[in-house]
């Protein structure tokens, strides 16, 4: 083996472990790509077997490296695939969706935070033994609310809720589950140390007052932190709103303080902030250079800086490579035989998806005039060979990040952070074109909050905004990464569900609908709940973006007319009758015209 023997095992292990950890996102992406290619039915079994192999290796290796969180999480997915393969049945769309949700969750979770234990970097960290099983007594004291496995709870590590009021705790758990947070409640302070020791929580939601004392909550947590030497992110909830209580909470390291009655949306905001420490997606760079060694060198420099690269040594490969690789930036050689950098840039600029893709040239060109000429065809920067690695990293990072921000601003809705109307329409057009080419299927759904105007009129606009934000968060969390979620306008949302037919799409939306209906909203002293109706149109039953829009709209209208709080599938345009409008409809959907301007 090509490793210097002078390096001790622990140091080598630490190095390998880091390398493995760095590879994890890529490997998970690979698994997700593999999953995406699997079609339901008999033919899907082969792909499933290939996926199993990959998962198995991932599970084994993460176990070897002591990344037990990852190993366990992958095991869960792997077991499901294995179980499916053990039967002779064809692959079901449900299974694929469930797997997708599990893999998405895995990819979104920072399972193995960098650095691991304190000794990790020094290479002294002992391999952690298998996590001890919780004592039966403790397990009995836990109320775990099993959320639907197809739901998409972020934050792999548990969230603990410590409150002596069992009913309130249970209610809050149910509420938070609607937002994709799986929360475990414990009712006694005495149980806290043992539970924390067994499975360190990502966050503790802590009551302040307990039978043990008026500020027993923060005191217990503070002493626990002192004893374990480990910071536990905490949110305090209390009926006390005085300075002393708040001060105690701050002294105990509390990140947030909510007064009872607790607003679920408020807690969710804090939980999002505390648990969603997912590192931003690494920058993806496509390196194009006809000199393989130079390409490899530049790729290496960028990878060392934590980016993900793909190398193309032939410009003709570039459009194809870009399809499977969501590049943030292309780094290209200026002079290549047959197709020069500027020519390649022009080819890319003439393709709809790559108009704004940042391009940086690399060349030995020192003539200023010719540099400028090269930039004219739509490149964003120019680096002269030999490139200083720090300069390369800085230029690439700057441009890629700026483009990401710009892009986000362009396509996101201000209130909900979802894609805006224009972006959704573009996605729909792209999706139809892709599905037509690949003979695939997908669904477009329109979602409309029921009686939204009544909410605004009765409870005020802040309450209405609360509803919209809750629904948008629900959609974002529960749907897969490959699905597109947007705010169509007002209280209307649009969703593009990739690769699924009508039945699973309805299943997913019905799940969302039931979850949403359970969320309790607060407006002053009052509480209320909301429902939504949805209409689904599938491709290729409706073969154009316009037809899909109209059909989804009509199906939504039918859902409203049928009594709301339901999901309807558009069948054929002709069977949808528009002759029976429901007079009591507060939010009347628009007619079937296309291209509603906003």
């Amino acid at each position: 083996m090509a490793t210097p023997p002078s390096e001790g095992f622990q140091a080598r292990k630490a190095r390998l472990r880091e390398a493995f950890r760095a590879q994890l996102p890529m490997r998970l992406a690979e698994a997700r790509e593999r999953l995406a290619t699997i079609q339901p039915g008999e033919a899907g079994r082969e792909g499933l077997a290939r996926l199993e192999l990959l998962l198995h290796t991932l599970k084994g290796s993460s176990g070897s490296f002591g990344l037990l969180g990852t190993s366990e999480a992958v095991r869960e997915v792997d077991d499901m695939v294995k179980t499916a393969l053990a039967t002779p049945d064809p692959v079901t769309p449900d299974l694929l969706m469930t797997l997708q949700a599990l893999l998405d969750r895995l990819a979104q979770t920072d399972l193995e935070p960098a650095g691991g234990g304190p000794g990790d970097r020094l290479g002294f960290e002992p391999m952690p033994a298998a996590p001890p099983k919780p004592e039966p007594g403790i397990a009995a004291a836990l109320i775990t609310l099993d959320t639907d496995p197809t739901a998409n709870p972020r934050g792999e590590r548990p969230i603990l809720l410590c409150d002596d009021d069992g009913d309130l705790a249970k209610q809050l758990c149910t509420q938070l589950a609607c937002f994709g947070y799986q929360v475990t409640a414990i009712n006694s302070l005495a149980d806290l140390p043992a539970v924390v020791a067994v499975d360190p929580p990502a966050t503790v939601i802590m009551d302040v007052m307990f039978p043990e004392g008026d500020d027993a909550g923060p005191k217990t947590l503070a002493s626990l932190v002192t004893a374990t030497g480990r910071r536990i992110p905490s949110i305090y909830i209390s009926s006390r709103d005085d300075f002393q209580a708040r001060l105690q909470a701050v002294k105990a390291g509390g990140s947030a303080y909510c007064t009872k009655p607790v607003k679920t949306t408020e807690i969710v905001e804090f939980l999002d902030a505390l648990t969603n420490r997912e590192s931003p997606l690494p920058i993806h760079v496509l390196v194009v250079d006809d000199d393989p060694e130079l390409a490899a060198l530049h790729a290496l420099i960028l990878e060392e800086a934590g980016m993900i690269t793909v190398v193309a040594t032939n410009p003709a490969q570039v459009p194809h490579l870009l399809k499977g690789f969501n590049a943030d930036l292309v780094l290209m050689d200026l002079y290549m035989p047959e197709c020069s950098g500027p020519e390649l840039a022009q080819v890319l600029r003439q393709m709809p998806g790559h108009v704004s893709l940042p391009i940086i040239y690399v060349s030995s060109e020192t003539d200023h005039e010719r540099q400028i000429k090269a930039l004219e065809v739509g490149a964003d920067g120019f680096l002269v060979k030999p490139v200083d690695p720090r300069r390369l990293i800085a230029e690439v990072t700057l441009r890629a990040e700026r483009m990401r921000i710009l892009h986000a601003l362009m396509v996101r809705d201000g209130l909900t952070g979802l894609f805006n109307h224009n972006a959704i329409m573009q996605f729909l057009e792209l999706k139809v074109a892709n599905a037509r080419r690949e003979q695939g299927t997908f669904c477009y759904a329109m979602i409309d909050v029921d009686h939204f105007k009544r909410v605004n009129d009765t409870h005020g606009h802040p309450a209405g905004d609360q509803v919209l934000m809750a629904l948008s968060r629900g959609l974002r969390l529960r749907l897969r990464e490959c699905d597109v979620v947007g705010r169509y306008g007002g209280e209307e949302f649009a969703v593009i569900l990739s690769g699924v037919g009508e039945a699973p799409a309805k299943m997913v939306l019905d799940q969302l609908r039931r979850g949403f209906a359970e969320v309790i909203f607060y407006a002053g002293e009052e509480t209320f709940t909301c429902t939504f109706s949805a209409g689904i149109a599938s491709f290729p039953r409706f073969p154009t973006p316009e037809a899909m829009l109209e059909a989804a709209d009509l199906a939504l209208y039918r859902a409203k007319g049928g009594g709301r709080d339901r999901v309807e599938i558009a069948t054929a345009v002709s069977t949808d009758s528009r002759s029976t409008p429901e007079p009591s409809a507060v939010t009347t959907p628009r007619g079937g015209q296309f291209g509603h301007g906003h």
């Binding site: 083996m1 095992f9 080598r12 390998l16 590879q23 192999l53 290796t57 002591g66 391999m127 298998a130």
Partner: protein, 130 residues
């Protein structure tokens, strides 16, 4: 001991190698069963094969069976991400089946050491420490 490590995940393979080299063993890596077979010629002097079970093309178990069919009685340890018990019970002739987890760091060197002590059953002509 001269050990051949077979793992389709090079990082995992290297980890096992690093562990055993730390105990003074000489390790060689192969990324799949075919490559492993090529490394296992009679003059290669490999005394022990440690193979991952689950690999594309040729699984660790198939590699083991292939070796035995070729009449190569080299000691063979399988590593698996799953429960090792049933495999261990079903496959006579293996020197061991270990689970890939944190414990591997202790169990594997111990098992290899025990093989070095001459505890390989059915491989009398093959004494690891000459």
């Amino acid at each position: 001991m001269k050990i051949l490590i077979v793992d389709d995940d090079p990082l995992a393979g290297e980890l096992v190698g690093a562990l055993l080299e730390d105990f003074g063993h000489e390790c060689q890596l192969a990324e799949n069963g075919i490559a492993a077979l090529e490394c296992l010629g009679p003059e290669a002097g490999i005394e022990l094969v440690i193979s991952d079970l689950n690999m594309p093309l040729v699984s660790g178990l198939e590699l083991f069976q292939e070796l035995r069919e070729q009449g190569q009685e080299v000691a063979f340890i399988l590593l698996t991400g799953d429960d090792p018990e049933s495999l261990w019970a079903q496959t006579p002739g293996l020197s061991g089946v270990l689970r890939k987890d944190g414990d591997l760091e202790e169990t594997l060197p111990a098992l290899v050491a025990s093989l070095g002590g001459g505890l390989i059953s059915g491989a009398d002509e093959h004494r690891p420490f000459p």
